[in-house]
């Protein structure tokens, strides 16, 4: 465990995320059945499986930006639905912010994720409390920044981010959805977790686990 994350570890993260969404696909779809159209698990599993296949077939790029670009492009071109362009944009913007390096220190990782989050907002126009993936991701990136500013190491910062994402996910429960398909439900969306927030919490959990290992 060092205080940077290199391309190989990023690849490990991607793999863990794939495994986790495939494992939890039914739960994600259950969440989406309640307030959406019952496909978020299928969408994320299809996308991350496509990413894994793509990286298998072409070999993982050596530079961080190339790797993240492949992930982003593959998600964009395999998921569809709302989550495809949004998660795709996350990784594409992360790559652009990271640049042609082979590892990221804590600050660079945080900046990259911040850029990704901004990309999601640029695409989806979500605001805090709209009951979307933003409500798990924004607190996670904020927590990462705060931990780094407070002098924490990468591992601790990533753990803080994962915890914040989980808290953010749980905080979507009482919200009225104002973006995406769930917004058609109005008040009836209250009492359900947002599926995208749930998959985002998994993303940060696997990031923390990768760095911790």
């Amino acid at each position: 465990m060092t205080d940077t994350i290199d391309t190989k570890s990023l690849l490990d993260w991607i793999t863990r995320y794939r495994d986790a969404v495939v494992e939890k696909r039914e739960w994600l779809t259950e969440l989406d059945s309640a307030i959406g159209d019952a496909d978020h698990g299928a969408n994320m599993a299809r996308g991350m499986n496509a990413v894994a296949e793509k990286l298998d077939a072409t070999g993982a790029p050596a530079s961080v930006d190339e790797l993240l670009k492949v992930v982003g492009m593959t998600l964009v071109s395999s998921v569809g639905g709302a989550s495809g362009p949004l998660y795709g944009t996350l990784f594409l913007r992360m790559g652009m912010a990271a640049g042609p390096v082979t590892e990221l220190d804590a600050a660079a990782l945080a900046a990259s994720l911040r850029a990704g989050l901004d990309g999601i907002v640029a695409r989806g126009k979500a605001e805090a409390g709209d009951k979307t993936m933003f409500d798990a991701m924004a607190p996670a990136v904020d927590a990462l920044d705060a931990a780094i500013a407070g002098g924490a190491g990468l591992a601790d910062a990533a753990r803080a981010a994962a915890d914040a994402a989980a808290t953010g996910r749980d905080a979507t429960l009482p919200l009225v959805a104002r973006k995406g398909r769930a917004s058609y439900l109005g008040e009836r969306s209250v009492g359900h977790l947002d599926p995208g927030a749930a998959s985002t919490a998994i993303l940060f959990e696997t990031l923390a686990a990768t760095i911790a290992s």
Binding site: D37, A38, S77, G80, A82, G84, R181, R188
Partner: protein
């Protein structure tokens, strides 16, 4: 789940195979899940593309042909197609005069088509977009993703397809599409849920004595659920919110659409109820469609679409069209 399918994951491609075999006048790109005309329109004319999740057939693939769409991009069942595929279709049909994207207003569709338009313009293809949002069941407010795009999509595809066919330029075609979108409204209801093949079970439970008013075309919940009622009462519940939303007095095109599992005998019966209510409200039905045009897999139920028309729209409506789903004058 009772369906005429093999594996759920193969439904889309295997169904496209049937389209390809049944319609020699269409061409199917199996890699991108795109249906185009086998013979492209003349160079210099605007091309019209639509697409979205599958499961709404004949929309959109069944509306590809002379006088209507140049291409339809099919996503997985109820899932928007991805930008690369929309971009591939856009490129394939551009005849140098730009391409109109007709997009139903769902976050997924809007985002994927937006990215596709960005990709296309990077390649020098001019893209215009209309977002269809006609479903009065959903409030169009800051607190929702806006009204959903439903039945009016069929009418826009026909009318705008005719305008493109006669050589109107992209700006005019976009403007026309937006104008039509502004003067049409829809409302639907379900007697049963649909079953998404990959899910294997009905999306929602609707007891034998209940119906859902204000349903979307993906099994999204409607405005409310209530006891099953006679056709006359259902007609009222569909027509009233449409008339409350927009003044439709005057000539109109009306579509009574089946959601996939409702037979034609019931659709005609519903049409009689709906037409009577509309006529009473001063709507003069000058053209109509009664049948399955924009479906929700095997869902039983129907939707009503009303579009205010003038002579110009009527002329475009009557223009020849030759597609699997709509055909006249040719």
């Amino acid at each position: 789940m009772k369906k005429l399918i093999n594996a759920p994951e193969d439904v889309l491609v295997e169904s496209l195979r049937g389209v390809s075999l049944a319609h020699p006048e269409l061409a199917v790109d199996f890699e991108n899940h795109v249906i185009t005309r086998a013979t492209p329109k003349d160079q210099g004319k605007v091309a019209v593309l639509s697409g979205g999740g599958s499961g709404h057939e004949p929309l959109h693939g069944g509306f590809v042909g002379v006088g209507m769409l140049d291409a339809a991009v099919a996503g997985e069942v109820f899932t928007s197609p991805t930008p690369d595929k929309v971009q591939a279709a856009t490129k394939a049909i551009d005849r140098g005069a730009g391409v109109l994207h007709i997009v139903k207003n769902y976050t997924g569709d809007v985002l994927n088509f937006e990215m596709a338009a960005e990709l296309a313009s990077m390649e020098g293809i001019e893209v215009g977009t209309v977002i269809v949002d006609d479903d009065v069941a959903v409030q169009d407010s800051l607190y929702t993703a806006g009204r959903r795009g439903v039945g009016l999509t069929v009418l826009i595809e026909k009318l705008v397809g005719a305008a493109a066919e006669e050589g109107q330029d992209l700006a005019s075609v976009v403007e026309l599409a937006k104008r039509i979108n502004g003067q049409g409204r829809s409302m639907g209801m379900a007697l049963t849920s649909c079953t998404v093949p990959a899910a294997g079970k009905p999306t929602f439970d609707l007891p034998e004595d209940q119906m859902e008013i204000g349903i979307g075309i993906h099994g999204e919940p409607g405005r409310h659920r209530e006891p099953l009622a006679p056709a006359s009462d259902i007609a009222r519940q569909l027509v009233e919110p449409i008339l409350a939303d927009l003044d439709f007095a005057g000539p109109a095109i009306v579509m009574l659409n089946g959601l996939g599992g409702t037979p034609q005998i019931e659709l005609y019966l519903m049409y009689a109820e709906v037409a009577a209510l509309l006529e009473k409200a001063g709507v003069q039905i000058v053209r109509n469609l009664v049948g399955n045009y924009i479906t929700s897999l095997d869902m039983a139920g129907c939707s009503v679409t009303v579009l205010k028309v003038d002579d110009e729209l009527l002329r475009l409506w009557d223009a020849p069209v030759n597609t699997p789903g709509l055909r006249w004058g040719i």
